[in-house]
Amino acid sequence: MLFFVALQLAVNAKRGMVFSPFYHFGMYAAPVKPVLSYPIATITVGNDTLRGSDFSPQGWDKIQYNLYMVWKSRCDTAFYQDQVFTLLHKYGLRTPPKSLYVNNLSFEERLENYKNTVGRLTGKIDSTITISRTAYRYYAGKFLPLQELLPIPEISELCR
């Protein structure tokens, strides 16, 4: 019991790094204010834009969250270099090979696989799937487009 308490408190004191099953349960704890611009990805299958209300939360996550993770997975090298290698090296511990932290598939292949998944989920395997990203402003219950198209997020934006 004391061991448990000590580990849990240590994880809470040292924010960031955790050791399963001792976590830092701080979700939505930091202040989150509405902002002026929200970049939103729109996925179109054939001529149809995917609508969140047609999917369960898990189904929608497979579309939007997975897309975000495909983008974010470009951070794998930076994660290894800046987090794993730096931290373990600092404490004089053996550093694991980089290959264990870096994905084998290229970013383009991961994106292609994502599109295949979306095709499977929507039952339109042969349709063209396009992804666009636009900045919106939320005003009076609606999202109003601020500009036409945004590029996919930069690595520097994702790998914080």
């Binding site: 790094m17 099953p21 989150v32």
Partner: protein, 290 residues
Amino acid sequence: MPLTQKNRSGFTTLWLLLFYGLALYKWMEGQWLYQVDPVFFFPRHDGITWLFMETGFHKTLIRFPFLFGMLDLLFYGFPLFFAWFRWIAPQRTLIAALIWLIINWVYVQAYCLFPTNSIEAQIAWLLFPLLFATKSLNGFYLMMHGLRYYFLFFFFSAGIWKLVAGGAFEPLQMSGILLEQHKDWLLYAGDYWQAKLIRQLIEWPLAGFVLYWIALLIELIFGIGFITKKLDKLLIVFFIGFLAFDYLIMRIPYFEVSPFLLTFWYSRHEQPEVQTIKKEFYPLPGNHLA
């Protein structure tokens, strides 16, 4: 009334029902590993995950996707096997439970390395094999309360963090969270009832802020469980309400932590007395004559 073998069996049965109910729900939502069929991974800031990655198993899984289905079979099949094994060989429960523990840890570590779910939602599967590993009724009682304390801490600390990090003092907090959480969903949700509800909360920040504080107070109320077990039934109601609203407003299906509710339901039983334990596990000479 002290905890009995009958209570333990009841706990196990309910746990199995919950586990397989959730397994069915996850299968219907396409959340089993073979259904997710991941092709890439992304690590977390978790020392245990880094240890797991040392084995390279996550890359083996991606190389041989049929292993996803094998892992699903082990993860979803083992609890039934364990229940059967405990019935036929109760003296060897510990070994079976340790195997179960390893299966669950490997499964959860792999599952959460792929973009599927947060590992915090999987804590029940990481910890409950420890409860079923216990041989004596007293051990079961103590482990069950250990898990209860873990869950209390989970909720209570979530409330404390909202105070410490400052979210609780930001009047536009809930509007900001809802916009961030649902922006892509709201954009094309039209007049869907849930979208209307969420928009109302965004545009009426006071209502959202009050809701945030209600959630925060519910989390803090769990701290009372450290002092007394008398309010555990009330905590169950709060927790079910919390889960329902988490799904309704945040669209977060956090149902997989629900097995912890059983520790609150059975906490009303007292610690089994030593004599009871002896009678149940180590029959005393002459007891059968009584």
